[in-house]
């Protein structure tokens, strides 16, 4: 069946006239190519803006009845937020934007999809709590970050990845049924992702997030951590030079450089064993250089120096409950760094970090990688033990120079980050690379490089990046079916 006048009228009856459109210009507003892909998305038949779970359920029933495809989205940042087939409607969840509860006692926030990080984050901070903000910018949806994407984050060293922070979820199935998972199933509230009976976690979020789920999440609870920083962060300046300061007595940032990946990993493991640091990251040097400069031109001016100063930076943020605790952690940190051969980088670079704490600010600035034209792609975005991640990082040298030295991708061969989680018990990695959008072969180079990276993973028996793991996915499917 296809999208008809009748379909439109039925959808309109659900959301009201103001919240549906098939105007050619409104549709075009959600039909563009993203810098990563060289082709435009298909056009949706209509865009609907539901205001409640019940409306979403009704829309799903209509989609089922008329055999329509649907794509639910909030920010449209990922290429999956667009129509890819005929007869598709876009379900924009913007209007469902309430923070329904911030439970300080059980430490969770209950949100609808349209709530943005810039709304939730300060609300939880005011209450002395925090959560891991992923690098999507202020307009990203916490619910989407926690239910739809792979979602490693930069503060997971002292915490963990978002998957572990997802509690009760309300989801509308493609049949229009409203499903509640976790403790909600037993009417026990939102605090727990599990309940007696079969786990429904996988229904909400497989390993690969939105690629592995059906249905639309309409509410979810996110677990919160106690925040070691001040409830109100001191802010200064005017964009693009906003600054945010943590209490200098309790909070410090140190950036060290290393020459060997194994040494960095040894440092990460040693710090983890001692539970030192609130955040520890083997950061990627290209985004760091971009974040610290004001324009692409300034980046180009300084990149040569930055490459020499911090090719392998280890960032350690100490956030303590008292000055004594901070000093104690610093002593261990310096011992570890000395033993593992790290060197402190110039003060002005550390100062940049100090002026941009906390991590919400930092991860929002990470968007500046798009300053180089926007064509980027992550590789090796998976998690394993810290040592395996170290091996993964070391393996990159084996294939990347064929691409960086020939200009097929941006010349930043060491641009892999390793972010330990749960005090180094395991870690995630991301090899972020860019290609030249002006180059007609840029996209082909991206694919070629990604295949080479996957091939290297297979050779080394690493966890292959899911998107390119078709061969393995097929084998597994065959075995299990």
């Amino acid at each position: 069946m296809s999208f008809t006048e009748q379909t439109y009228r039925e959808l309109e009856a659900v959301v009201g006239r103001r919240n549906i459109s098939r105007d050619e210009y409104i549709l075009a507003g959600n039909r563009a190519k993203t810098p990563e892909i060289p082709f435009a998305h298909k056009s949706a038949e209509a865009i609907v803006l539901p205001g409640s779970t019940e409306e979403v359920a009704e829309i799903m029933r209509i989609c089922k009845r008329w055999e329509l495809n649907y794509v639910a989205y909030v920010t449209a940042c990922l290429p999956t937020a667009y129509a890819s087939k005929e007869d598709t409607i876009l379900i924009h969840l913007k209007r469902m934007n309430r923070i329904l509860e911030i439970n300080e006692e059980d430490r969770y926030a209950l949100v609808e999809p349209g709530v943005r990080h810039v709304q939730l984050y300060p609300e939880v901070r005011k209450r002395g709590l925090s959560y891991a903000p992923p690098a999507v910018g202020p307009g990203g949806s916490p619910m989407v970050s926690y239910t739809c994407t792979g979602g490693d984050n930069h503060v997971q060293y002292g915490t963990s990845r978002p998957t572990r922070y997802l509690l009760g979820v309300e989801l509308v199935t493609p049949d229009g049924e409203i499903l509640r998972t976790g403790s909600l199933q037993a009417d026990e509230g939102w605090f727990c992702p599990e309940s007696p009976g079969p786990s429904l976690r996988g229904v909400v979020k497989g390993y690969s997030g939105n690629a592995g789920r059906i249905g639309i999440v309409t509410k979810c609870a996110i677990a919160l951590d106690v925040c070691k920083g001040p409830a109100e962060i001191r802010k200064e300046g005017v964009s693009p030079h906003h600054k945010m300061f943590m209490d200098g007595g309790l909070s410090r940032v140190y950036v060290f450089n290393y020459t060997s990946m194994q040494d960095v990993c040894d440092a990460i493991l040693a710090l983890g064993e001692n539970e030192v640091g609130a955040t520890v990251q083997k950061y990627f040097y290209l985004p760091l250089a971009l974040m610290m400069t004001d324009s692409a031109n300034e980046f180009w001016e300084k990149w040569g120096d930055f490459k020499k100063i911090f090719p392998m930076p280890l960032v350690v943020h100490i956030a303590a409950g008292s000055v004594r605790e901070r000093e104690y952690e610093e002593r261990i940190l310096f011992d570890v760094v000395r033993e593992t051969g790290g060197t402190r980088i110039p003060r002005e670079i550390e100062k940049w970090w100090e002026e941009h704490m906390d991590y919400f600010m930092i991860v929002c600035r990470l968007q500046s990688v798009l300053r180089l034209g926007g064509s980027w792609f992550p590789n090796k975005a998976y998690a394993e033990s810290t040592q395996v991640m170290c091996n993964v990082a070391e393996s990159v040298d084996g294939f990347i120079y064929d691409y960086t030295d020939t200009g097929k991708i941006f010349d930043a061969p060491k641009n892999i980050q390793i972010i330990p989680m749960e005090y180094g018990h395991f870690a995630s990695s991301e090899l972020l690379f860019m290609w030249d959008r002006n180059d007609p072969d840029g996209f082909a180079h991206m694919r070629e490089f990604t295949m080479a990276s996957a091939e290297s993973d297979r050779r080394h028996h690493f966890n292959e990046y899911s998107m390119y793991g078709k061969e393995w996915a097929e084998k597994i499917t065959k075995a299990f079916s």
Partner: protein
């Protein structure tokens, strides 16, 4: 001629992150008052946002979407407030607002300009003011014996709003006189600054007017233009250099008043003014007032601009002088709204001709924010913001024009 290809890099760099719609982390506040794009806030569809406008521009540029009335309507309902531009430029090298301007121009050239905008353009061309009122009435409120200094190289530019609010102009006169500034008034020679023309995309008429004004300033030996109107200020600084080389400096009356105050040439009354005020940054005095620096060149691989481009990211708008003046008033307590300075929420007035309900909603939203900040008074210095924000409603805020307020608080009375 409009050429959207000039903005291809911007259009194709957008990754639809949505940062153009939401408050930046450096100003984060809470759940409330977090959106910065007034049209997106009201209409909800992404097409109504910087992000959506770039998508539209891309399709028009590539010829996959026709021009049309509805497109023009959407484009002109956008208040061109530039919040999207500043937010995007927080981390990127993109020209979101200039792309919107170019798309407006492109549409206008294709014959699609909303009727109300056509009327405004006609008014400016025929009567030299946006309202279409008789030109000879522009300064008719001035007393017969009004004296300026015809030899001065500084001009006090009134702007079209002088028809509606001559008291603001007189207040500026009072401040300048009290500070001993020599200035002249153009009277019948003063025509509209042209802001509405170039901002609506009527490039041809705008150019004619701007060349005329600039030439006149040159002939008169004008070196400094002072204005109390945010729109004129922003137009002189960020609009004129798009058309001509300007040889004059533009100052806002708040900058001048602050200089005079610091130099001890102005004194404020010691009488207390017991109000809690918040200051609303007008877009054209704040983030959009940075001097436009023309750039032509090539964007090479990975964003390298050759020659180097001077970016206008909203950082150097006039933010502090109005605040410093307010802080200098005894008894006045200044509080801040969450969306302030470069992240100020537009008052919506710019689109009141396109959709009065939207404009009303946006103005109300701003007053709600002012009230939530604890203010009983909202101060600004733009005649258009005044129209939006000076209202009687549940928030019970009084509106004060900054220029009039300062003039009113001068310690020494000067005859105007």
């Amino acid at each position: 001629m409009a050429d959207l290809n000039k903005f291809r890099y911007t259009i194709e760099s957008c990754n639809h992150c949505g940062q153009c719609k939401w408050l930046l982390p450096g100003r984060m506040y809470g759940w409330d008052f977090a959106s910065v794009c007034p049209i997106h806030d009201y209409y909800n569809f992404d097409a109504y946002s910087g992000q959506g406008m770039l998508n539209l521009a891309g399709e028009i540029m590539n010829g996959t979407l026709p021009h049309g009335e509805k497109l023009a309507e959407m484009l002109h309902t956008c208040t061109a407030c530039g919040a999207c531009d500043v937010n995007c430029k927080n981390v990127r090298d993109m020209e979101v607002l200039d792309t919107i301007y170019e798309l407006r121009k492109d549409c206008a050239e294709a014959g699609f300009l909303p009727e109300s905008r056509k009327k405004t353009a006609e008014n400016v061309v025929k009567n030299h003011n946006i309202y279409g009122l008789p030109h000879e009435q522009r300064f008719s409120f001035l007393p017969e014996d009004f004296k300026d200094d015809p030899e001065a190289d500084t001009v006090l530019f009134a702007g079209c709003s002088v028809y509606k609010h001559p008291e603001t102009f007189l207040a500026a006169v009072k401040i300048l006189r009290a500070g001993g500034v020599k200035f002249r008034v153009l009277k019948e020679d003063e025509w509209c600054c042209g802001a509405s023309l170039w901002r609506m995309g009527d490039w041809e008429d705008a150019k004619e007017l701007i060349v005329r004004n600039t030439e006149m300033f040159r002939e008169m030996g004008i070196r400094t233009v002072i204005t109390a109107c945010a729109e004129c200020f922003g137009s002189f600084r960020s609009g004129y250099p798009r058309f001509v080389e300007t040889a004059f400096e533009t100052k806002h009356i708040s900058q001048v008043a602050l200089e005079l105050l610091r130099d001890g040439k102005l004194k404020l009354s010691k009488d207390e003014l017991p109000v809690t005020a918040c200051y609303h940054d007008p877009c054209m005095l704040g983030r959009l007032s940075e001097t436009y620096i023309p750039w032509e060149g090539e964007i090479k691989s990975y964003g390298l601009h050759v020659p180097e481009k001077q970016w206008r990211r909203g950082e150097h708008g006039v933010y502090e002088p109005p605040r410093e003046l307010l802080n200098a008033i005894p008894g006045l307590k200044l509080v801040e709204m969450p969306r302030s300075r470069e992240e100020s929420l537009c008052c919506g007035q710019n689109a009141s001709d396109m959709d009065p309900d939207f404009a009303k909603h946006t103005a109300e939203e701003r007053r709600r924010e002012a009230s939530a900040s604890g203010a009983d008074t909202i101060v600004s210095c733009c005649p258009f913001c005044r129209e939006a924000l000076d209202a009687q409603d549940e928030y019970k805020l009084q509106y004060l024009d900054l220029t009039e307020l300062i003039a009113d608080r001068l310690a020494e009375e000067v005859e105007s």
